[in-house]
Amino acid sequence: MTDAPMVGSRRRATGASLRLAILLFVADPQWLVPATIAPIIFGLVSFELFRGEGPYFLTYAILGAGMMSMWGQTLYGSGWATGQDRNLGTLEPTIQAPTPYLYVVLGRIIWNVVSGLIGGVIVYVVVVIAAGGPPALPNPLLFVVMFVFVMVTLASVGIVFAAAFVYSRFSGFIQNIGEFAFYIGTGCMFPVILLPFWTNPIALFFPPTWALDALRYISIPGYVGFGWGWQWDVVGAVVVTAVYAAIAGTLFHRVERHVLEVGNLADY
């Protein structure tokens, strides 16, 4: 009896949050520009560095740059997902609302990932124009499915970051200074197995590492990634994403309890 209205409330909260995020974006879409400049340039630089190495290296450059665009949006958007409530003074009222805060943030994170995808499309168009043609894709349908899956894994990271950033004054530091580390650690532009072996287990803590490896397996013939193949990559990504979702739920629950007990979360 009590669950049904709550489920509706949560869905409405996420929908409203998503709608507001879209409206804010439409009102001032220039903010997509900073998020796409770096990936476009990195994509073009990589394309130049890969020139002459074979047709599938264009896929590396495009996938890598597109992934960086989505990563960038997720990383910056997650920090801002709770930061905006702090700045605007709406953190306490939003947390006091009967709907769990997680569902409000979820709407913002979904839009971050989608806007990252828009950035990814822009990157794709620019690099394809520079290359003179689109990359060859052996299995376009599976590619699309896997690409959506990569977005889901990124959203799971985004929501954990959003929760963790509530407790931190260093979200700006992590976003700006740690940006390249995330790109390297999740193998955005090159397979993680190229990195020293000790870094690989750390990289596997991030769901996009698994999902991106699987995506490359199905889009680049002869790709050499993790030895267990793309099917196990998908299984690994699902498991780690589920763990992230559980962590996000726990963290947000704790955030809400903490703010009600201490009442100082909105302070910088």
Partner: protein, 273 residues
């Protein structure tokens, strides 16, 4: 009678210069919190170099390409503090509501604006120095001790020119709603146009011309020439080019600020978002 009164209220040049140099990191410059500064010096050069070196490695590049990329990115990270942080001064002044006060201040404009660049110049020097140490230690870029004096001159001139370029962007941003987009463009555009990851000659000719307009292109050439142990005569030409690009940037920045100041005083609109 007007002159003594004016001089009585006119802050001394060096006082204005020094006050701005010391206060700007805490007031108007972006990304000058201690954690950001340390991250810019020690973390960003390493991660950016690792990223592009592995891209080169994947693309089948050998040791010479890796060295080229490592040095290029060690120097290119200078843009975080010299361009991105400096060009945000305008935004900060507007946000804090201090732009109007600044525009009516009698302080010498050169001291006011260039003084702000002192700390970024020092941070930029540290960033490139640490980046070149990383290049030597992690990517086996040979930097003979005999080249260090010429390298120091090249790095110092590059830092000065790049901060001048940051001030120029800050001047342009005075007329924009925000400097973030401008800052982001010039934060990374050098990676493509300045010969950071591959020789400029690989680019189409119009893009080579665009690259020539950036101080980073000349600074990087001077630094590469210094590491290669080029003669003083060839280095002198490059140093002259770097210095010239810095002087032009600062000159244009001062000119732009002057134009926009007059416009602000006439219309009262520039200081607003």
């Amino acid at each position: 009678m007007a002159t003594p009164l004016r001089s009585a209220y006119q802050p001394k040049f060096w006082k204005a210069f020094w006050t701005n140099a010391v206060l700007a990191p805490r007031t108007s410059l972006g990304f000058m919190r201690l954690d950001f500064v340390l991250g810019s010096i020690f973390v960003i050069p390493l991660t950016q170099m690792v990223f592009f070196v592995f891209v080169v490695h994947l693309g089948g590049g050998g040791q010479s390409e890796i060295e080229f990329t490592a040095v290029g990115n060690a120097v290119a990270t200078i843009t975080y503090t010299s361009v991105f942080a400096v060009c945000q001064t305008t935004d900060t002044e507007k946000q804090q509501g201090t732009m109007e006060h600044l525009l009516v201040s009698p302080a010498n404009r050169f001291a006011l604006y260039v003084g702000r660049g002192i700390i970024p110049i020092l941070v930029s020097l540290a960033t490139v120095a640490v980046g070149l140490v990383y290049a030597d230690v992690f990517f086996q870029v040979p930097i003979p001790a005999s080249t260090i004096p010429a390298l120091a001159v090249s790095v110092t001139l590059t830092a000065l020119a790049m901060v001048g370029f940051g001030l120029l962007l800050g001047g342009v941003a005075l007329y924009l709603r925000t400097s973030i987009i401008l800052g982001n463009i010039f934060l990374f555009i050098g990676l493509l146009l300045s010969g950071v990851n591959f020789p400029v000659s690989n680019l189409p000719v119009p893009l080579q011309w665009a690259g020539d307009a950036l101080p980073l292109t000349w600074g990087l050439s001077a630094i590469r020439a210094a590491i290669a142990g080029d003669s003083l005569s060839s280095l002198g030409v490059l140093w002259g080019a770097v210095a010239l690009s810095g002087i032009i940037s600062i000159g244009l920045a001062m000119g732009l600020w002057g134009v926009f100041e007059r416009r602000a005083l006439a219309t009262g609109a520039i200081a607003r978002f």
